[in-house]
């Protein structure tokens, strides 16, 4: 059996990086991002990356690391609000930026992985997003065509993975990860827990191993962007 398990994030990236490559990185905000693979990608020194990710990390964390080192040439995202260095590079014209509505972006990635080169959506009709895109009427309503999106390497964060590459995701850290796993020419996954094959109930595998070429177990910091609470837990016995 071809071995999918790698011993470190940088080893998992070996031989796959090249100037001008396209990279998808899972995550929503800082939740469910492949922290270790992003760091390893920075350390690889690869240049002119097209990064496809819902957000751009924050200063000094997540994709912010690759912005600091100017390794990213272009970003395809839906929202980039939390990153000063991003803003600086963008306003200085050093960084290309393509905004996609979040649902359009998710569907483009899913379509890319599913062999669907184009689909129609109502999202963005009558807005700047529709400019230059083919249009078609269905049942007297106007829709625009969006295209499938794939990438050279997809960087994925999962909760647990088995030695066959079957994956499970945790809570809302799932987000873009399972669909990006289908859209990479090569898909590399970092997991909190690496388990033996047979550990998972086959009914509850989110990503079948067919989509995973390389897998590494790695510890994540899991930084929280906006800690929000409702106060202290009431002491037992209180009303």
């Amino acid at each position: 059996m071809t071995e999918k398990i790698y011993s470190s994030a940088s080893e998992a990236l070996e031989g796959l990086t090249f100037d001008g490559m396209s990279v998808m990185a899972g995550g929503f905000g800082l939740c469910g991002i492949p922290e270790n693979l992003i760091s390893a990608l920075r350390d690889s020194g690869v240049q002119n990356i097209t990064a496809i990710s819902n957000n751009a990390g924050v200063d000094g964390f997540g994709l912010g690391l690759l912005l600091e080192t100017r390794q990213i040439k272009k970003m395809i995202s839906s929202y980039v609000g939390e990153n000063k260095e991003f803003e600086r590079q963008y306003l200085a014209g050093e960084l290309e930026l393509e905004f996609n509505p979040q649902g359009t972006m998710a569907e483009r990635i899913r379509a890319g992985g599913a062999g669907i080169p184009g689909f129609y959506t109502k999202t963005g009709v009558g807005t700047v997003i529709a400019e230059g895109k083919p249009v078609r009427e269905f049942n007297d309503e106007t829709y625009i065509m969006e295209t499938g999106l794939t990438c050279d390497v997809a960087l994925i964060k999962a909760w647990r993975g088995d030695t066959q590459g079957n994956l499970q995701f945790k809570d809302t850290a799932r987000n873009f990860n399972p669909i990006m796993a289908t859209a990479g020419k090569v898909t590399i996954v970092e997991v909190d827990e690496l388990v033996e094959v047979g550990t998972f109930d086959p009914n509850f595998i989110h990503t079948p191993g067919i989509y995973v070429q390389r897998l590494v177990q790695a510890k994540c910091e899991k930084r929280i962007e906006k800690v929000t609470t409702r106060g202290p837990r009431p002491v037992e016995g209180d009303a």
């Binding site: 819902n54 839906s78 306003l91 997003i129």
Partner: protein, 210 residues
């Protein structure tokens, strides 16, 4: 007397019906969750991949793997389910969400909404807003009736780049409630206490019927 933010949220909450699946935007819409009427059971969707959003966690019980679309830490409920971003927006785009309540910078009399960019300012992106207004069965906007300079935000046509066309069914401002059916214009449905129709008309560029 114009409504406060909380009063606007309370009024918006009256639009929730039992069994509804609802997506709430950031700002006043978030407050709507505090005013869900008794006996009305509502399930909140978060477009980053969750149905059945619970309240914020207690101090020290934050789960970094569990956030809402505003990136705040939240909790799950007994009914909750998680799904990926494509499935989440399939739910939104496919018209399965009953109601979305969101904020706006401008609304036009034909139901257009602008709430994602101001030319000349740093653009942060539309996130899921364009998908929500295009996909959800019914969209309600909560916003101040005028901007800080006193100019109407309720216009004949939006001056800012649009988020969506002909997609807003109701606008709840500090001055009142304005509703439209199908492709019609907005009708004044309610006024905040002591707010007069004249005041509303003076502060509204959009054509309003009564």
């Amino acid at each position: 007397m114009a409504w406060t933010r909380d009063e606007m949220a309370r009024r918006a909450a009256q639009e929730l019906k039992d069994g509804f699946y609802v997506n709430l935007g950031i700002g006043i819409p978030t407050l709507v969750a505090n005013y869900i009427p008794d006996g009305v059971d509502v399930t909140l969707q978060s477009e980053n991949g969750m149905l059945g959003m619970g309240p914020f966690p207690f101090d020290g019980e934050e789960n970094p793997d569990l956030i809402n679309a505003g990136k705040q830490t939240i909790t799950a409920l007994r009914r909750s389910s998680y799904f990926n971003s494509a499935d989440s927006f399939a739910m939104i785009r496919g018209g399965h969400i009953d109601l979305s309540i969101l904020g706006a910078m401008e609304i036009s009399e034909n139901g257009d909404i602008a709430n994602w960019m101001i030319p000349g300012k740093m653009v942060k992106g539309m996130g899921g807003a364009m998908d929500l207004v295009a996909g959800v069965k019914r969209c309600i906007v909560t916003m101040d009736h005028t901007n800080r300079a006193g100019a109407s935000k309720f216009l004949k046509s939006c001056t800012l780049p649009l988020t969506g066309q002909n997609c807003i069914a109701m606008v709840i401002t500090d001055l009142g409630v304005f509703a439209r059916e199908g492709n019609e214009g907005f009708r004044v449905k309610e006024l905040a206490p002591d707010v007069t129709l004249d005041e509303v008309r003076a502060k509204t560029e959009a054509e309003l019927t009564t």
